[in-house]
Chain length 291, copies 2
């Protein structure tokens, strides 16, 4: 069984990006610069943003954290975004979700300059992706595609079952896997809460991408011998034996399923670090396009 | 067996739109106005554009045909598009494809104002559709969804197999069928030229959308008893007994398959007229949004 190690692979890819920064960014060429906007003090959001900023710092990018209170109005946030759009020193930026309820996430997303949209969720970028055109891709599906590519998992002609149809993971990863590309060219089934006979469907799959958000949903009897399983779930479950009182598990019952598959990504240490690496890669691409 | 009659259904829907035009467009309110840009003299394109313009005229819309020679440069076409974007009297317009080889279709598509993009292929509109947001939808998938809705074909929890992954039909119809919507909520498989065991996959389907462009590809032994079949193919095959020397057949072997299914759309007279009706509906929507 091949462990699809997102930490190891991320370290390798980030080292490659670091080398490119060292090669290209010298004398009068400044390094790529990512900004992150964080509204309020959601602890999970703070952790995510911190990890993204740290990953950028490690590869030699510049980074800026813009922290605003939960009381920030939509108008104030749109003003921050407008400044980021105009600032030629910023190559890409993210607005960390979720936003406070009084702010319309869609309006915020539409205000982001697509050329700086390193999260890839602006409809213009999402549409280019859906049409098979080059674009800044959403980080999690992009991280999954990088993982499949770097570990030489064949996707052409394979049946991929994607569990979940979210805009963040399920829908874009299904689109990317179905495209005439490498990796890609897979027969893709999008399954979700309304799907009948999910277990039978999963047993047909050569590759399963589990992105349902249900802890340890995928069991060994739902997986064909020798399949490839990508676990996108990040679920907190209570665990009084840990300092934090919880631990992270995926959407896959790793102990059971890993006995049966040819390759599997763990949680933590699988798709999670690859998502951050994809964001770093997108920032590099947004930077390179301008220069 | 229920015949999904695109001509009859189109007549009904166009009558509804005509009634809305009569109700809303009087005194100082002008009717919706569609423009069509036709470059060169491809006979099939001329027929398509003529049918679109005629459909608009019939429901009481205003229409304008802009005809230019095959020698038109990309710059000249972009100038035409710029004028259409600025013209407040034009609610929506289409640029008939294919374009002459010296013109970059993608650059042309990007120049269209998304608010007037009644073909729904601008990445901004395509992205909104993929994200499940309201938008102007591509005409053929929209026509298919209207057909499923009006004929009360249940899609929730059904397994839909889409044959073909084109940007015009396969990819968008797969996206629409998978969304949390009505019609929608289907388990969707996107199959294509790289798919293994296509026949076995089709036999599992409750609903098949055939959009491969291969004349009479889908045979009775590939279809489950009682399935629903939507035929998107429009293929010319030689037929010396007709005046034109050819006739149109779909991607489905209608004689065979219609014996076995619970519902099927014919070719001609199925998805074809629904596509034009969807364009008329999009023009109405583009008009209503502005007013």
């Amino acid at each position: 069984m091949l462990l699809l190690d997102g930490n190891k692979l991320s370290a390798l890819i980030r080292k490659e990006i670091q080398d490119k920064v060292r090669l290209f960014c010298q004398n009068d060429v400044r390094p790529p610069h990512l900004a992150a906007v964080l509204i309020g003090d959601n602890p999970a959001s703070q952790t995510y943003v911190r990890n993204k900023i740290r990953a950028c710092d490690e590869v030699g990018f510049a980074s800026t954290l813009i922290k605003k209170p939960a009381s920030t109005t939509q108008e104030e946030l749109l003003h921050v975004i407008d400044n980021l759009n105009r600032n030629p020193e910023i190559d890409g930026y993210i607005v960390q979700l979720p936003l406070p309820r009084h702010i319309d996430e869609h309006a915020v997303n539409l205000a982001i300059d697509p050329a700086k949209d390193v999260d890839g969720f602006h409809p213009f970028n999402f549409g280019k992706m859906a049409l098979g055109l080059p674009s800044l891709l959403p980080a999690t599906p992009m991280g999954i595609m990088m993982m499949l590519e770097r570990y030489h998992i064949e996707t052409e002609g394979k049946h991929c079952v994607v569990l979940g149809r979210s805009n963040i993971v399920g829908t874009p990863v299904a689109l990317l896997l179905s495209k005439k590309a490498k990796p890609g060219n897979a027969t893709v089934t999008i399954a979700h809460s309304k799907t009948c006979n999910l277990a039978g469907l999963c047993r047909q799959a050569d590759i399963i991408v589990a992105a349902l958000g249900i802890p340890r949903f995928l069991k060994a009897d739902m997986v064909r011998e020798g399949a490839v399983v990508i676990d996108v779930g990040i679920n907190r479950i209570d665990d009084p034996t840990t300092n934090r009182g919880f631990r992270l598990v995926g959407d896959v019952d790793f102990e059971e399923v890993s006995q049966k598959v040819s390759a599997i990504s763990p949680v933590p240490g699988g798709v999670g670090p690859m998502t951050i690496t994809a964001l770093v890669e997108n920032t590099w691409r947004a930077f390179s396009k301008k220069s």
